[in-house]
Amino acid sequence: MKKREVESTSADELREVAPAKLSIHGVSKTFRNPRGDVLALDGVDLEVAEGEFVCLLGASGCGKSTLLALIAGLDHPDTGEVRAHGELVTGPGRDRMVMFQEHALFPWRTVLGNVLFGLELKPGLPRHARLEVAAYYLELVGLQKVGNCAVHELSGGMRQRVALARALAPNPTVLLMDEPFAALDAMTRERLYGDLQEICRKRRKTVVFVTHNVREACVLGDRVVVMTSNPGRIGASFAVDLPRPRDINGVGVAALATRITAALRANEPEAAR
């Protein structure tokens, strides 16, 4: 490969970037279906401040994953606009990285190779710098020893850690997480809550975290935003003023979770109660 004008070093690459502000205005999205159209999102407005950790909470089918895909630029809204750092989102961008429910790691690459994938697509980053950056993030998620392992050799929790390292490696300003821990067992999940809070303290990002687990939202979020279904709309918003690191079994978390659960119940249609 030819050298570009400026080669960045791993130190450039690892420096803190200011987290971005997200603005979502009047966003609607309809999915066309043979059995009729489904209005997934209806006039959604949401502001996420720089460095804020927002948990989008709602039942399955409330459009929260759709909203995340729109912020990621993987899909386009029918009306309204999504802005990241003031710029209109028109497609995927390295400033907004996504972590999916399934790990979505590439089995033909090693663990290290997966973390390198996004870095290889960054122009002007020489090979040794890429390796240093990837090693840094593997260490950040506590997996420095398994770089050469195949993905299928790892446990579910380890795979999600690799997916997190892969999403963080291109140094995005926004991290979008789509129920990343939903498929894990409870023990692994609770360990990851602690680790994720620690990682977010070290690498400050604007995070939108989609979940249907109330306690998870309370443990992780600076703010919990409830979404209602059919059509998907933004409901009540709860600021979480609990000191970090938070424990899933803490009294404060439990009290808030109870309040939010009550609010969720109030939103449900009569038949679903």
């Binding site: 993987l74 995927p92 999916f100 399934e102 994938f117 697509l121 195949a150 299928h152 291109p170």
Partner: protein, 255 residues
């Protein structure tokens, strides 16, 4: 693995010993089926005078050239079929049909089009490999989980990068089994074509076997058969063995 080889070698030795003993006892006319020792003598002679090696080289070259052309056609066409419905409904269906045709059936037309030349043999191999590789590639690319493509897009992967860094490796398990099937079809059809068609530009293993029949030299026929088995086994072990082991190690699947 070593144990498997060991038991097989022992089994083969016993089989050959019984065969040798029965042939020496004169249970049948030596013209009908020669003793293994006669076959080994033939192989030694043919190896020494170079006829066996040159025939194997001619066959090998036809196979290699035809196989590479078949790959060159099958892989990109398979991608097209996976990505575009119009290609799937046309070339894809054609491939489905032609894949069922043993490619030796192309020999009469190939002779008419290309004459008794290397090109007609290569053509038979190409027709044997292309369709299997095309269908396997199309199938493999189509069954790539959409989430891999979404993940790649968020990391900035576009068009050709996605093709070579996500679709191609993601479809590898399917592509390798298609390559293996294509190889099997091509190898068998090439042998059939070489036995039945005289090619003026070079004598392959099939011809050697055919002349053995004409001369009623059954030691030659059996000897060439043994060589064909040997080459087939080697190709599968040397070409596809490592690829499949790598896939198993990385993808963690049994193919």
């Amino acid at each position: 693995m070593m144990r498997r080889i060991g038991s097989f070698v022992l089994f083969l030795a016993v089989l050959l010993a019984i065969w040798e003993a029965m042939a020496r006892a004169g249970l049948w006319n030596a013209v009908v089926l020669p003793a293994p020792s006669k076959v080994i003598v033939y192989l030694g002679q043919a190896f020494a005078d170079g006829s066996l090696l040159s025939a194997a080289a001619v066959t090998g070259r036809r196979l290699l050239v035809g196989y590479l052309v078949g790959m060159g056609l099958g892989l990109p066409l398979g991608f097209l079929c996976a990505r575009f419905r119009s290609a799937r409904d046309t070339i894809g269906v054609l491939a489905l049909g032609l894949q069922t045709l043993p490619s030796v059936c192309w020999a009469p037309l190939a002779l008419l089009w290309f004459g008794q030349t290397e090109a007609s043999m290569t053509f038979v191999v190409v027709m044997g490999t292309t369709w299997s590789i095309l269908l396997a590639t199309a199938d493999g690319v189509r069954s790539i989980p959409p989430i891999w493509l979404r993940a790649a897009r968020t990391m900035g992967s576009r068009r050709l990068h996605t093709v070579f860094q996500v679709m191609l490796p993601g479809a590898l398990p399917s592509i390798v089994s298609g390559l293996k099937q294509g190889w099997a079809f091509a190898w068998r059809s090439l042998m059939a074509a070489e036995i039945f068609v005289t090619i003026l530009t070079g004598y392959g293993l099939g011809h050697l076997l055919h002349y053995g029949r004409e001369l009623h030299a059954m030691d030659q026929v059996v000897g060439v058969m043994a060589v064909i088995v040997g080459i087939g086994l080697c190709a599968e072990q040397v070409l596809f063995g490592p690829a499949e082991r790598w896939l198993r190690r990385r993808f963690g699947l049994v193919s």
